[in-house]
């Protein structure tokens, strides 16, 4: 009944964009797009999430400038070489001692394998790195919509995996992670990205409640 709305291409497009932006941010390649930053911001504004998600709006206000300070801050938070202030790995939050490559990592790996995916060069980078989890979600959305457009029933399967993963993994820890960022960050940019991430993922997670109606 609501099929058309569930696989609304415009809505999908907006999400796709945000996921890709966050993924690029966490994998550290956003810095290479410094020159395009204003353009990216404009596109981000077009998603109109800021009207819907208060955190998204706040976040957007903070990320207007991409500074070198933000790069250092980003590295202190997520990369190293010092002790990470906000490790971008699920196990760092859900595994009490914060050790990587534990049960949480292999659980995520199982999820990837459900849809026939694995991490490039498995066992080098933990599977539960946030960049990979974001990419995975994006992939699921992509598959759902493209299956739908081909009229394949498998679309619902991808959508279910999408919500399941959000519910069991990324949605479960990303808030804590973003809180850590907000606590330790010294730059507006990283704070803003944390708010944006938190707001966006929490909204996605909340859609789970009525996933039958909206997407």
């Amino acid at each position: 009944m609501k099929q058309n709305q569930r696989y609304n291409p415009a809505e999908f497009q907006r999400k796709f964009f945000v996921y890709r932006l966050l993924q690029d941010y966490y994998s550290g390649c956003l810095w290479q797009k410094k020159d395009n930053w204003n353009e990216i911001l404009l596109t981000l504004a077009e998603t109109r999430y800021q009207e819907e998600i208060i955190f998204f709006d706040l976040g957007m206000r903070l990320i207007q400038k991409l500074t070198q300070e933000a790069v250092y801050d980003f590295n202190r938070l997520f990369v190293g070489p010092e002790k990470l202030l906000a490790p971008p790995y699920e196990s760092a939050y859900r595994n009490a001692e914060g050790l990587l490559m534990q049960k949480e990592t292999t659980d995520v790996r199982k999820f990837y394998s459900i849809v026939g995916l694995s991490v490039v060069g498995q066992n080098r980078e933990p599977d539960d790195f946030i960049g990979l989890e974001l990419e995975f979600l994006c992939f699921l959305l992509y598959q759902a919509v493209s299956c739908f457009q081909r009229g394949e029933e498998r679309a619902d399967f991808y959508l279910n995996v999408y919500f399941e993963f959000l519910n069991m993994h990324l949605g479960n820890w990303v808030s804590d992670h973003c809180e850590d960022v907000l606590r330790h960050s010294t730059s507006y940019f990283c704070k803003g990205m944390a708010m944006l991430t938190k707001g966006f993922i929490e909204r996605e997670k909340s859609l789970l409640m009525h996933k039958e109606e909206i997407l």
Binding site: R20, G28, T43, E125, Y142, Q149
Partner: protein
């Protein structure tokens, strides 16, 4: 990047999204970190051989369990009869090291040394930066001598000597030379016997009398402790001589609390008694030794047991009983620890103890001997280490910088000055004496590169940090300086993140340097790490261990076929072929030819306490204590003070105590214990993550008397550190 089903997706949709260079535009999903699953060879449970490469007597053979490509457990390999299938507390934490979120993951550049402004760079960028710097230095100074390497024992795997090789392949460079650990003792035994060789530690069980002299195997060689205790159960008397009541001393039958640095006086006093009571082995001396008559004259004219008693603080009758027991129990064994030679008279003291073993004829016997260490199984090709210098390299050879006075010598180096540091397998900012001088040296550099696994004070003072592999992520081979086993280290898991083996780094850097300036680096630019291991072997090693190919080691570690009793053949490697109690060689190096007593250093009035900074049981220098499992047991340093001293200074348990001297100070909580003497305080040396503790702030770069001959530089008198304490 792989692109999937783009065609099918584009069908029916308008590609409206702006690409913006994000990874995949609106309608164009590109894989970046994920990919369609590949068939993996990393399934199920696999076991691998590993070899602990830490600077430790025990060099354990490890069996690691890997499940679906993830290291899940480590165990001792029962094939090794020395480690007997057991590891130590440190070894069992290895999984925590590999998967610690604190690991250095990517090459990074710090904009402003010590600023904390780190930027992630690619390996290629790192190599380019480093190569350009090296080439610039070479151009500016006409040689690569301004580049200084400081690498030592953070990883004793044979492959890691490739780091020295890498520096050689740049040209003539400056090298931190020597060792902080054991050189005085090595020189002593080299003067006496030609080199260091010890009996197989598994032979300890054959002793009838065992003196553990300034050594604490219960903490620093737990597997040897089994053989010590087994000897004890077979009726051997265990005597521990140590200024501190160590864990080992607690298990001994007799503990002698000697005044620090007076071990030579005790040995000479015992020798005098043995001589007076005709307990010497004249026949052995006649056949095997030189200079014993001169030594006996010296004893008769200069040494009395009364004097020894006064020097050592041990009652005369105790010294006499010890001497008689030692000389009459056959075979009697002495294990000379590295702790007791970290004094300004350490080398001379070791010679006196060696002499004790010689005059009683205990050398060359199973269950006897004067055990220090050995290098008998280290006859590798050092293929990775030996590299040719580029043609036309300026300078007449490498320049030696004393590793034990690193900071000051780096700062003092002239013509050319030192401008760049390469730090590997080492953490000088926390482990070297005179930390503040070392820091100045780091600050004075133009460029500092550090390769490490964890962020430590040395990394903090670097421009570039390179992530290196753990033993489970690479190939290697290992032997011990104590036992006689040889163990292969297999790669068990993929290197995490972007970490690389030091040799890999050397090869890739060499490639980059040759790209920028052909011929500027002679290090091979490619090669398989496993093949590098094979290139370390030769027929000498094969014969010694009774194997025909190194690949046999994949089945498990092997032990040497012979030579388990040091000097059994009586062929000493001195120039005379004899045991030289009178050593002309020692004279050449500016020492007295006989093991005469050299006065120990005494505290000055302002600094009346001697601070001994021995190893702590949960770490090896700056490794292991930073891991969470260790932190759960103990995560705080402390200072051990005798109850009487504490009372005198008004200090109570857990009070904060400032320990200071003219170099610096540290503040630590007090632990009041009778395991130390009234004039001694003990602070265990360690690096605690997130803690600003470093005992070396108070430790002077004071040389030990010997070490120059064997290691190029004298040792370090770490335990001649005089301080005062006050309650804060």
């Amino acid at each position: 990047m792989k692109e999937i089903s783009r065609r099918s997706f584009l069908k029916g949709t308008a590609a409206t999204g702006a690409a913006l260079g994000l990874s995949g535009s609106f309608y164009n999903f590109l894989f970046s970190g994920l990919e369609p699953a590949q068939a993996s060879d990393e399934t199920g449970i696999q076991k691998f051989q590993n070899a602990c490469p830490r600077n430790c007597y025990d060099t354990c053979s490890i069996l690691s369990t890997v499940e679906n490509g993830i290291l899940t457990k480590v165990e001792g390999n029962p094939q090794n009869t020395f480690t007997r299938g057991r590891l130590c507390a440190k070894g069992y934490t290895y999984t925590r090291r590999v998967y610690s979120p604190d690991r250095i993951k990517y090459p990074m550049r710090q904009n402003g040394r010590g600023s904390g402004n780190w930027e992630r760079i690619s390996w290629d960028e790192a190599y380019t930066l480093i190569a350009k710097n090296i080439l610039k230095i070479k151009k500016e100074y006409g040689s690569t001598l301004p580049i200084c390497l400081n690498k030592y024992s953070g990883n004793f795997d044979i492959m890691h000597y490739g780091i020295e090789g890498m520096l050689s392949s740049f040209g003539n460079t400056s090298r931190a030379t020597g060792t902080p650990c054991w050189p005085a003792g090595i020189d002593s035994q080299t003067f006496d016997m030609g080199t260091i060789v010890n009996n197989d530690p598994e032979d300890l069980v054959n002793s009838k009398y065992l003196i553990l002299w300034g050594v604490n195997p219960a903490w620093t060689s737990v597997h040897s402790m089994y053989f010590v205790q087994e000897a004890q159960r077979r009726g051997c008397k265990i005597v521990a001589i140590d200024p501190v009541l160590t864990q080992t001393a607690s298990k001994a039958d007799l503990y002698l609390q000697i005044k620090p640095s007076t071990d030579g006086a005790l040995a000479l006093g015992m020798a005098r008694y043995i001589l007076d009571h005709n307990l010497i082995d004249a026949k052995w001396l006649m056949n095997n030794a030189l200079g014993y008559n001169e030594f006996f004259d010296y004893l008769k004219n200069n040494i009395t047991t009364d004097w020894a008693a006064e020097k050592t603080g041990l009652p005369k009758n105790v010294i006499e009983t010890l001497a008689r027991e030692y000389a009459t129990a056959k075979p009697a064994n002495i294990w000379i620890g590295y702790g007791m030679q970290r004094h300004a008279n350490g080398g001379q003291n070791v010679r006196a103890i060696d002499a004790l073993a010689a005059i009683t004829g205990n050398i060359g016997k199973s269950g006897g001997g004067a055990q220090y260490a050995h290098l008998e199984t280290w006859g590798f090709n050092y293929h990775a280490m030996v590299q040719n210098k580029p043609a036309g390299s300026a300078g007449s050879g490498d320049r030696a910088i004393n590793i034990n006075n690193f900071g000051a010598e780096v700062l003092a180096a002239k013509e050319p000055p030192i401008k760049m540091l390469w730090i590997a397998c080492r953490n000088p900012m926390s482990q070297d004496p005179e930390t503040s001088v070392v820091k100045k040296a780091f600050e004075a550099m133009d460029f500092v590169v550090t390769a490490d696994q964890f962020f430590n004070p040395s990394v903090a003072m670097s421009d570039i940090v390179l992530p290196v592999t753990t033993i489970f992520e690479t190939w290697g081979v290992n032997v011990s300086y104590w036992h006689y086993w040889l163990c292969l280290n297999q790669q068990a898991i993929k290197p995490m993140y972007e970490s690389k083996n030091d040799i890999q780094i050397a090869m890739e850097l060499s490639k980059k340097m040759n790209e920028l300036e052909p011929g500027s680096c002679t290090f091979p630019t490619s090669g398989d790490l496993k093949d590098w291991v094979g290139k370390e072997f030769n027929t000498g090693i094969y014969n010694q261990f009774g194997i025909s190919d190194w690949k046999e080691l994949e089945k498990g570690p092997v032990k040497t076929k012979a030579g388990h009793v040091a000097w059994q053949d009586g062929k000493f490697r001195t120039s005379s072929g004899k045991y030289e109690i009178w050593s002309e060689e020692a004279k050449k190096f500016g020492h007295l030819p006989l093991p005469v007593y050299r006065e120990e250093l005494k505290p000055a009035n302002e600094y009346p306490y001697r601070c001994i900074s021995p190893h702590w049981k949960l770490n090896i220098h700056s490794q292991f204590q930073n891991l969470d499992w260790m932190q759960a047991i103990n995560n705080a340093p402390f200072i051990e003070i005798h109850p009487e001293t504490a009372q005198k200074m008004g200090i109570q348990e857990k009070d904060n105590v400032k320990m200071y001297n003219d170099l610096g100070y540290i503040v630590l909580p007090a632990k009041i214990t009778e395991t130390v003497a009234q004039d001694i305080v003990v602070v265990y040396e360690a690096w605690y993550k997130d803690k600003n503790f470093n005992v070396n702030y108070t430790v002077k770069a004071l040389p030990a008397d010997m070490g120059k001959k064997a290691t190029g530089m004298p040792g370090m008198a770490f335990h001649d550190n005089f301080v005062n304490i006050a309650k804060v």
